[in-house]
């Protein structure tokens, strides 16, 4: 089954900026998928549309076969989102942020507390359980957002630059955690500017630039195509796109 099916997705903002110019993209269930591209390429717009934070101008989006137009509430239950920017109330405690999110997904408080304790332990935040979010380090805040996204056990986890500003040790720990999640069956979509991160973790990759998918291939195939690193391929595609304009 396809975790994500996108057909002819277009988005034009009220300012006239055309962020997506007809994106077609399929992501299989169980995949660890990298969505790459420079700043302003349209990655976050795609994610915002999938998660219903932004309205699309045209096209069709299905999450595990459920259209976001026909049954948005059902589609949302499949998704856990870790956004690029910190978007929790910094004056709330770690445990409250996670359990409140559980409540929004209809999980009763008692069960939410049990699940939250389990997740924050797994993410190394146990000793910060009752700490206000503003007192956490950058890396801890990132992990808190992952914990919050996982509280309802989503089938699809979307991470928008989850390791930005995180130190190497913490990044490696996060990679390990995400790998384990994926092995346990969670489909993961990752956007990142650290190409070695995508190389290390992802099985499939799409490179998007100026609102269009420029490449969509298995990572292995891409790396076997004669070029040494994903970085070279990435830069080449971006250059090609620039020359075409």
């Amino acid at each position: 089954m396809q975790a994500i099916s996108i057909k002819g997705l277009r988005k034009t903002y009220s300012t006239g900026t055309q962020a997506l110019k007809g994106v077609d993209l399929n992501i299989e269930e169980g995949d660890f998928f990298a969505l790459l591209g420079p700043n302003g390429a349209g990655k976050s717009t795609i994610i915002s549309i999938i998660t219903s934070l932004t309205r699309k101008s045209e096209g069709e989006v299905k999450v595990f076969g459920t259209s976001i137009d026909e049954d948005p509430d059902k589609a949302k239950t499949y998704i856990g989102l870790v956004p690029q920017e910190f978007n929790f109330n910094i004056f709330e405690k770690v445990i409250d942020i996670v359990t409140t999110q559980a409540g929004y997904y209809g999980i009763p408080r008692k069960e939410a507390l049990e699940r939250a304790d389990e997740i924050i332990k797994a993410l190394g935040l146990w000793d910060k359980r009752d700490t206000m979010a503003q007192q956490l380090s950058g890396g801890m805040k990132r992990r808190l957002m992952i914990a919050r996204a996982l509280i309802h056990k989503p089938k699809l986890l979307i991470l928008d630059e989850p390791t930005a500003g995180v130190d190497i040790e913490m990044r490696l720990g996060m990679w390990e955690f995400l790998r384990r999640m994926n092995e346990e069956g969670t489909t993961i979509i990752l956007t990142t500017h650290y190409l070695e991160e995508a190389e290390e973790l992802c099985r499939n990759v799409a490179i998007i630039n100026k609102g269009e998918v420029r490449l969509h291939k298995p990572m292995k195939e891409l790396l076997e195509s004669g070029k040494e690193k994903l970085e070279n391929i990435y830069l080449e595609i971006i250059q090609e796109a620039k020359q075409e304009k």
């Binding site: 219903s52 934070l53 309205r55 109330n89 409140t100 559980a102 409540g103 929004y104 009763p108």
Partner: protein
């Protein structure tokens, strides 16, 4: 769905209690000053209004004034800050339906408004004795008014694009209308022209319905007051549902 609603209402309540010195204390201090200055000092020198002392006359209006301000400020500030900090996305990415989100925000405003109203009522007992003509009218007017201003605050929060946007309406619209809405006087004491002008102020009807519940006196028809309260609630609710459906001000 009940869990989502409970979560939102609980979150609002916990926040309100956590920052009680910002949410509950200021209206108590302000109205206590009104009771002292207008009620005791000035009011003692004024003639009775329809058989009630000036202090007794202004108590319902002052309770209503604090309820209006508290319920409005609660929703306008929580919604705007949720939008500004993007914490609203926590709810928007979840399967919580729009009507539950609206109900959650409104409940927060209503709980704060009713809680503040109750506290101010308790404080008023230090200055005058309590008269209750019809408790049901008091409760109904309190619920409908806090709901109305919670909705109005939410609409303001949706449209607000900056911090100025959340203070303009309370300062330049809400405060003048409240002060001119019969809190401190009966509009029957006005010259005919200003009495008629006052009848266009919706807050007048809320204050009078509330005062009727306490004292059994009113400048306007109680049926008319409740009709206006219900009509404005319906219009604001319809507008809020529409704005949420369109994602106005919070969805690109």
């Amino acid at each position: 769905m009940w869990t989502s609603y409970y979560t939102m209402a609980r979150k609002e309540f916990v926040r309100m209690i956590r920052i009680w010195s910002q949410t509950l204390l200021p209206p108590i201090v302000t109205t206590s000053l009104y009771f002292v200055v207008f009620g005791s000092f000035i009011g003692s020198q004024l003639a009775a209004i329809e058989g009630f002392s000036y202090m007794q006359f202004i108590v319902p209006g002052l309770i209503m004034m604090s309820m209006i301000t508290s319920s409005y400020m609660n929703t306008v500030s929580t919604f705007y800050f949720a939008k500004w900090q993007r914490t609203l996305d926590e709810i928007l990415v979840s399967p919580t339906p729009n009507w539950i989100v609206i109900a959650g925000f409104i409940s927060g405003g209503m709980i704060r408004g009713l809680l503040v109203g109750t506290l101010v009522l308790i404080v008023s007992l230090f200055f005058t004795h309590l008269v209750i003509h019809q408790l049901a009218i008091v409760i109904l007017a309190g619920i409908l008014t806090t709901m109305l201003f919670s909705l109005a605050g939410l609409v303001n929060g949706i449209f607000a694009k900056g911090f100025d946007g959340i203070s303009i309406v309370p300062t330049f619209v809400l405060t003048p209308l409240t002060y001119l809405g019969g809190v401190f006087f009966s509009i029957n004491q006005f010259p005919e022209f200003w009495r008629i002008v006052s009848l266009f102020n919706p807050i007048l009807y809320m204050v009078n319905a509330f005062r009727y519940g306490f004292l059994g006196i009113s400048d306007v028809s109680i049926a008319m007051s409740f009709s206006i309260l219900i009509a404005i609630n319906v219009v604001l609710l319809g507008l809020t549902v529409y704005l949420f459906k369109k994602g106005w001000g919070f969805k690109n």
